[in-house]
Structures are given as structure tokens and as C-alpha cells.
């Protein structure tokens, strides 16, 4: 039984069809890297899984929660999948600790004491326990992204979606974020990540999805996809064309 089931998903922005029938099943604990040129639809696919975009056709189900365009279904879906963004999107008016505590308290009605304990544990997990009282603008980009990961984890999601989460970081800050993602993968978290870090994708993922023109163009274990690309498009993308 797969955790995430994506069936024949189509998505258009106006007349521009960006997803042209995507099928993808993700098992629990699986780590999927999605690669491809910009405009290939990889970010859109990720955003659909979290209900940030609606879909025109097909279906997406995460552990029984289906993507349907009403608040109740969207909320149920979002409780199962967390999302990390390229731009961190921390709440600038709250401390790191409060950023992590907010949603459990507001959405899940967890008590302040419990939420604080959870927030401290999650910040500890990403190596930032000492930054509990720091505001986002007092943190480096890498630290902010780790707080964003802790914030998503505090909601205890079944899967995490990572949308180019290191693309906005200075090169020297990329590794601290990737290290956190890697440890999550090792602990069995289901991960779908859109990434340009090919080495990381190769090292951490169970399967690599190569998207091209709104379709899953090639899919397979990283050894295969990176070592023996079958299509000319993937060869060209990997610079072997």
C-alpha cells in the first residue's frame, strides 16, 4: 500500500497545461527526488500534493486523505503532508520557537506547555535548540530553513515536501540543511524533494523522477537514472548528451 497515490493528474494555468497526466505512487518511508528543467512542472506537482494548487483532472491521495477543493478535505490533506519552501517563509514577527509552536497550538489545539516541549525537541533535532528565542532576521538562511523544517515536523506529518529548499542559500549553508534532510530520510520520513543537488539526490533518494514537459519522463533508482539515462532528454539534462 502506498502512502501517496498520484493518478493521471492534470493541471493547467489558463491554456498552458503544466502537468499532463502524472502517475506516481510513493511508499511509506520512501525518498523521492524530482529533477528536471525549470518549467517541467516539478514544483507544481509538489504544490498540488499539499493542496496549494488545485488540479483539473486525476486524483491525489495521501494516506486516505484526498485532494478535493473544499476546506475540510484540504485541511485533512495538509495535516498529513508538510511543506518546506525555497524562501523559508518563516513568520518574521515570531521567534524561532514560536514559529514552531504556532500551528500545533492554533490548528491542533495543543496546550502551550506541550507545544513548547515539542518545539524544543524539533529545534534540537535540527541542531538549533539554542536559537529558540531568536527572531528569523537574526538567523542565517541555513538556520532559517532548518527552523522551517522543525516547524513542519512539529505538525507530525506523514510526508514532507521539499521545494528546492537549498536554492536560495549561499553555497556554504547548503550542507547544514541537506544534513538535516538526510537524517530525516534515515529516520524513515517519507520525502518528496524537488532539487538541483544531483549528488545529494543520488546519495539519499530511493527513486529519482525526471520530469520533462509536464510528464514523468524517466523514473528509477538513482544508480540507474544517473548512470544509464535512457532518453536523450535526460542525457542532455545530466550533461551527457
Amino acid at each position: 500500500m502506498s502512502l501517496i497515490t498520484i493518478t493521471e493528474v492534470r493541471k493547467s494555468f489558463g491554456t498552458n497545461e503544466v502537468l499532463k497526466g502524472i502517475n506516481l505512487d510513493v511508499a511509506q518511508g520512501e525518498v523521492i527526488a524530482i529533477i528536471g528543467k525549470s518549467g517541467s512542472g516539478k514544483s507544481t506537482l509538489l504544490r498540488c500534493i499539499n493542496g496549494l494548487e488545485t488540479i483539473n483532472d486525476g486524483s491525489i491521495t495521501v494516506a486516505g486523505a484526498q485532494l478535493l477543493p473544499d476546506e475540510i478535505h484540504l485541511r485533512a490533506l495538509r495535516l498529513k503532508v508538510g511543506m518546506i519552501f525555497q524562501g523559508f517563509n518563516l513568520f518574521p514577527h515570531l521567534t524561532a520557537g514560536r514559529n514552531v509552536m504556532l500551528s500545533p497550538m492554533v490548528v491542533k489545539k495543543v496546550s502551550q506547555k506541550e507545544a513548547e516541549a515539542e518545539a524544543r525537541a524539533r529545534l534540537e533535532q535540527v541542531g538549533l535548540a539554542h536559537k529558540f528565542d531568536a527572531y528569523p532576521d537574526q538567523l542565517s538562511g541555513g538556520q532559517q530553513q532548518r527552523v522551517a523544517i522543525a516547524r513542519a515536523l512539529a505538525m507530525k506529518p506523514l510526508a514532507l515536501l521539499c521545494d528546492e529548499i537549498t536554492s536560495a542559500l549561499d553555497p556554504e549553508l547548503v550542507n547544514e540543511v541537506l544534513a538535516v534532510v538526510k537524517s530525516l530520510a534515515e529516520q524513515g520520513m517519507t520525502l518528496l524533494m524537488v532539487t538541483h543537488e544531483m549528488r545529494f539526490a543520488r546519495e539519499v533518494s530511493d527513486r529519482v523522477v525526471f520530469m520533462h514537459l509536464g510528464r514523468v519522463h524517466e523514473i528509477g533508482p538513482p544508480e540507474e537514472v544517473f548512470a544509464n539515462p535512457r532518453t536523450p532528454e535526460l542525457k542532455q539534462f545530466l550533461g551527457q548528451g
Binding site: 499539499n50 517563509n89 518574521p92 504556532l102 492554533v106
Partner: protein
């Protein structure tokens, strides 16, 4: 003929100015409360609500405050509702300022980056929760200077209510002029009192703007 000392004039103007201040405060607070409701409708995820709020704002921004005053003061009695000048002044100034405040605040809400909405959406918050905990706390900081600045418009707007017979600073000036025949002195003092009310407000709006720009997001 009775002689009026300068103090007679000033003291009577100051007594009337209490009503200007009171009307300003009540209309500003009322306008703030109604304005919040209009703001909610204006940004809600319901197209018909958004359009209704947009129409409301355009109506009040696109007609003179004086017409709104007249329509309420003379129109409601036609419907069998008797309104005192005070009630008409309060209602029209409240509605008028609610439209302007809602529009000022909408601009502030829209200046919050889209990523804040997306992050809070992905954390399963509802629209109201997002507004309450993520968007409004940030928007309010931006909204303080233009909101305080707008309060000056409310104070000056109260002068129009003299036309429907509400005795505030402007109406009192007219009455006193009719008794003293010293229009320049009387209106001069009245203008000074208006200035004394408005200047601190616009000055503090400028100060707040500078302070909130320089300060970081926290404290």
C-alpha cells in the same frame, strides 16, 4: 451692545471643541470596527463578498462626505427614522472612515509576501487563523502610520457636521461670530484649535513611520 473679551471667545470655542474631539474619537473607533469587517469581506475568499465590499468602498470614497451626511440626516426621517444631528454625524463619519480605513488596511495586508500565506496554508491553518496569527500582526505594523495619518482627515471631517446643526467647533464659531461680529478673530482661533488637534497626529504618524521602518520586525 455686549462686549466680548478674547477669553470669552476662546473659552467658548474650547468648550465646543470637546464635541469635535468626542465625535472624532467615536467616529474613528466606530470606523475602525466597521472597517475591519469591510476589510475581512474585501479579502475573503468569496468573490461576491469581495465585490460587495469593493462597491461599498467605492461608494463612500466616490461621493462627498457632505452628501453622505445629508442623505442620512434628511433621508432616514423619510423612512420614519428620526435622527438627531449627533446620530447622523456619528453614523455618516463612521461609515465614511470605515471605507477609507478598509482600503488603507487592504493595501497593508496585500503587502505581506505571498509566502506567508503559503506557509501558513501548508500548516493547515484556516483563512481566519492565518489572518489572526500570521497576516494581521505583520500588516498592523505597516498600517499604524497611515491609520494615524487618516485620523487627521476624520478630525477635519467633523467640521462638515456643523451644516446639519451639530454644535462642534465650526458650528460654535459661526454662532459666536453672529454674536461678536468678529469673524476673523473667531475663525482664526478655531483654525488654531483644529491645528492643535491635527498637527500632533500627523507628526506622530511621521515619527511612527520612521520608527517602524528603522526598527526590525521584532521587539
Amino acid at each position: 451692545m455686549t462686549q466680548f473679551s478674547t477669553w470669552d471667545i476662546v473659552s467658548n470655542l474650547l468648550l465646543a471643541a470637546r464635541w469635535t474631539v468626542l465625535l472624532s474619537i467615536v467616529a474613528f473607533v466606530g470606523g475602525g470596527i466597521v472597517g475591519l469587517l469591510v476589510l475581512y469581506c474585501r479579502i475573503a475568499r468569496k468573490p461576491w463578498l469581495q465585490r460587495a465590499a469593493a462597491l461599498y468602498i467605492e461608494l463612500f470614497q466616490g461621493t462627498p462626505l457632505l452628501m453622505q451626511l445629508f442623505l442620512i440626516f434628511f433621508g432616514l426621517p423619510l423612512l420614519g427614522i428620526d435622527v438627531s444631528p449627533w446620530a447622523a454625524a456619528f453614523v455618516s463619519l463612521t461609515l465614511w472612515s470605515s471605507a477609507f480605513l478598509a482600503e488603507i488596511w487592504r493595501g497593508c495586508v496585500e503587502s505581506i509576501p505571498k509566502g506567508q500565506w503559503e506557509a501558513s496554508t501548508s500548516l493547515a491553518m484556516t483563512f481566519v487563523e492565518q489572518l489572526r496569527y500570521v497576516i494581521l500582526p505583520q500588516a498592523m505594523r505597516i498600517a499604524v502610520p497611515p491609520t494615524v495619518g487618516f485620523s487627521v482627515q476624520v478630525v477635519k471631517g467633523t467640521a462638515l457636521t456643523s451644516i446639519i446643526g451639530f454644535v462642534e467647533l465650526s458650528k460654535a464659531s459661526t454662532i459666536i461670530t453672529n454674536a461678536t461680529f468678529e469673524p476673523f478673530t473667531v475663525y482664526g482661533f478655531a483654525a488654531l484649535i483644529y491645528f492643535a488637534l491635527c498637527w500632533p497626529l500627523s507628526k506622530s504618524s511621521q515619527l511612527l513611520e520612521r520608527k517602524l521602518n528603522v526598527a526590525h520586525h521584532h521587539h
